[in-house]
């Protein structure tokens, strides 16, 4: 009896769960660890039940199928268990570790900055570190400064790490599968507000290659570039712009590192205008990097200055009025596009 392979409409949380489940089934070297990813470890009355299945429920059911030997609740010791995931990867396992919020990078930075990302290089190519770190990014949950950050530029700034951030359920499944199978350390960024977002997802094996951006909507007047939630913002903005006669092409970056420069440049060559939407802070950020790359390699195609919609250079505020003002949204994107399109050329 084969597992159903028909596409279904499911949430991003379920798509991630499915990817992990199928990969763990196929490869006994995969273990998964994190704080409360099953929850209630060794609580007698729970028997083999989980208490949480992860703080966002993404890992629900894994402990039932794979047991607590492969689904490991950890103490609140990010330095230890992210480091252990790196160490296990370097010695033959293929671990998935959950860093609950990307802000907790602060508690385990050494494991990623000085160990996981550099072992292969420092050892002259004689080590591989096939670890996947799933982590939550983004605002919108009123979670305040430490739990709402978008740190993919920091991760991407570290050579040796790959950085992935899907914007829909199908890509979530396909990119997570690719990340788990990848022999390098991959930081897999999941947006806190997107777990319940539904989309059609292929059943069975589904792989989306790391490093390939998607043209999520073809268009001719302006290129809108986003990643994770900002790709969704870009698509929504494009709909509004279409009603006003502006035909926007939307590129969903999907992977931050390695960066798919060719897809970006091809689009800019076609449209001559670029607006980048990025929830991270702007200084030395993703938007500024891409703007720089396009200025460097595609300046002659640009008919207007590159527009950027980013978070301001401040921590994420708590109060909803402030957080809403802080975050990019489709309205801000539409305004930025109009400004870009009104520029002379």
């Amino acid at each position: 009896m084969a597992v159903a392979t028909a596409a279904r409409t499911i949430t991003i949380a379920e798509a991630l769960n499915e990817s992990i489940r199928l990969e763990m089934r196929a490869d006994p070297k995969i273990v998964i660890m994190g704080e409360d990813i099953a929850g209630g470890a060794q609580v007698e009355h729970l028997e083999d039940d989980e208490a949480w299945g992860g703080v966002m429920g993404v890992t629900k059911g894994l402990v039932h199928e794979f047991g607590r030997e492969r689904v490991l609740d950890t103490p609140i010791s990010e330095a230890a268990f992210i480091g252990a995931a790196v160490g296990a990867a370097a010695t033959g396992l293929r671990p998935i570790a959950e860093l609950m919020f990307c802000g907790f990078l602060g508690s385990c930075l050494d494991s990623l900055l000085n160990q996981g990302s550099k072992l292969r290089y420092m050892f002259g190519g004689k080590a591989t570190v096939p670890v996947t770190i799933r982590t939550m990014i983004g605002g919108g949950f009123r979670a305040a400064a430490q739990h709402a950050q978008t740190l993919y530029p920091m991760f991407a700034n570290i050579p040796g790490l790959k950085v992935v951030a899907p914007s829909n359920a199908a890509d979530a499944k396909g990119l997570l599968t690719a990340s788990i199978r990848d022999d390098d350390p991959v930081i897999f960024c999941e947006h806190i507000t997107m777990y319940t977002l539904k989309g059609e997802v292929p059943g069975g094996e589904h792989v989306v290659p790391i490093g390939k951006a998607a043209v999520a909507r073809p268009g001719s007047d302006v290129t809108l570039l986003g990643v994770s939630l900002t790709a969704v913002h870009a698509l929504n903005a494009a709909k509004t712009l279409a009603e006003e006669g502006i035909d926007a092409e939307v590129i969903d970056l999907r992977t931050v590192s390695p960066l798919d420069e060719e897809t970006i440049l091809e689009s800019v060559q076609k449209t001559g205008r670029l607006v980048i939407v990025d929830e991270a802070n702007p200084l030395c950020g993703l938007a500024s990097h891409i703007a720089g790359m396009v200025a460097s390699r595609g300046f002659h195609w640009l008919r207007a200055p590159v527009g950027m919609v980013t978070a301001p250079h401040s921590p994420v505020p708590f109060s909803p009025v402030l957080e809403d003002a802080y975050l990019p949204n489709p309205k801000k994107v539409v305004a930025a596009v109009k400004e870009t399109c009104s520029s002379a050329s």
Binding site: M1, T11, R25, E47, D48, G61, E65
Partner: protein, 353 residues
């Protein structure tokens, strides 16, 4: 508070019925036990009686075909009137009762006299699985069926389902009912519970009838069950009702009995997803093979020749591993043998228990 007169469900296959005739008029005074209306299904006709003394108001007109559960009329109870339990043999059949056992509420139905035969349904089903069997075939037996925890009208319990918990439920239920020894008839998951009880408390089990079951699922089926559990975890019962039905019934049966299938689909959809998820994961992981060698009671194994969830091979292995077990393969039969082939199932069980 008015007491509703509702279109009863007479057997698992029934999804709708026709109100053929009112025997009383709107506003009439009725007495408890008095026949108030006649109804019919494609299989049978029946009379319905008032549950309470009072004044009846008509809601559904004669001749209408309505879904099971539809309110047909309402009786405003007379002052001081007491709602009377239905007499056995009334339209809804033997009455079920809620009993406390093993710390939870279990929905139990009991009928007949004599040595006990306990019917244990399978995953995402209920005691209604057995309604197609002909009770007349079991003269001289007390027939007991019940809803497993988290199923039917039994209590929904949080947390993992384990065979240990299900077996403890059954042990406690037998104690509550004063049954010292019983013949166990289990379907699928129910058969696993029966095996577990027979292995752990042989003195309580007179015989085992294992329908459409296995001691352990092959890995591929386990994966399928885990997929179903995950789909229900995230999406509720909606996403798994159809796959469950496809696993349970032959295509030919589905085509020939759309109303039966529809009724079962509705019953699955109304199930508690968390309970079904927990039970599905338990079934997927179950491995009773180490228990089989120790079984000593007479055992029969029944399987549909076209069972795709627990194919005949699994039952052959099961029978081969239990000393002296008889094996019966039923032609033109899928996984839900008691529903698809009630007559031969009744005959084989009645001869054995």
């Amino acid at each position: 508070m008015p007491i509703d007169v509702i279109m009863p469900k007479m057997g698992m296959g029934m999804s709708e019925g026709k109100l053929s005739r009112w025997q009383v008029k709107d506003g009439d005074s009725v007495e408890a036990g008095q026949v108030v209306l006649e109804m019919e299904t494609d299989k049978a006709t029946a009379e319905m009686t008032a549950d309470v003394d009072g004044v009846i108001s008509v809601v559904v007109a004669e001749g209408e075909v309505v879904d099971v559960g539809t309110v047909l009329g309402r009786i405003e109870p007379a002052e001081g009137a007491v709602v009377k339990p239905r007499a056995p043999g009334a339209a809804e059949g033997p009455s079920a009762e809620i009993l406390q056992a093993n710390g939870i509420a279990l929905n139990v139905q009991r009928t007949g006299e004599g040595p006990a035969v306990v019917f244990i349904h399978g995953l995402s089903s209920s005691m209604e699985l057995w309604t197609g069997l002909d009770q007349a075939g079991f003269q001289g037996r007390t027939l007991i069926s019940y809803d497993l925890r988290g199923h039917g009208r039994s209590e929904q319990t949080p947390g993992a389902h384990t065979l240990r918990k299900h077996t403890a439920d059954l042990v406690a239920l037998l104690e509550t009912l004063g049954v010292e020894q019983a013949s166990l008839v289990g379907h699928s998951l129910g058969a696993m519970i029966a095996v577990e009880l027979a292995a752990s408390r042989p003195e309580s089990v007179r015989s085992l009838s294992l329908l459409s079951s296995t001691a352990a699922f092959p890995q591929e089926t386990r994966n399928t069950l885990f997929e179903l559990a995950s789909a229900a975890t995230f999406g509720g019962m909606e996403g798994i009702a159809d796959p469950l039905i496809e696993l349970t019934f032959r295509p030919a049966f589905r085509d020939a009995n759309p109303k039966v299938v529809e009724a079962i689909r509705r019953s699955i959809l109304s199930s508690d997803a968390a309970s079904i998820v927990a039970a599905t994961r338990m079934v997927a992981k179950a491995d009773l093979r180490p228990r089989l060698g120790g079984l000593t009671c007479p055992t029969q194994v029944l399987v549909g020749s076209e069972d795709s969830l627990t194919p005949p091979d699994l039952s052959r292995q099961l029978a081969a591993a239990i000393e002296g077990a008889q094996l019966h393969e039923l032609p033109d039969c899928g996984h839900a043998a008691p529903v698809e082939q009630p007559a031969p199932v009744t005959r084989l069980l009645a001869e054995f228990v």
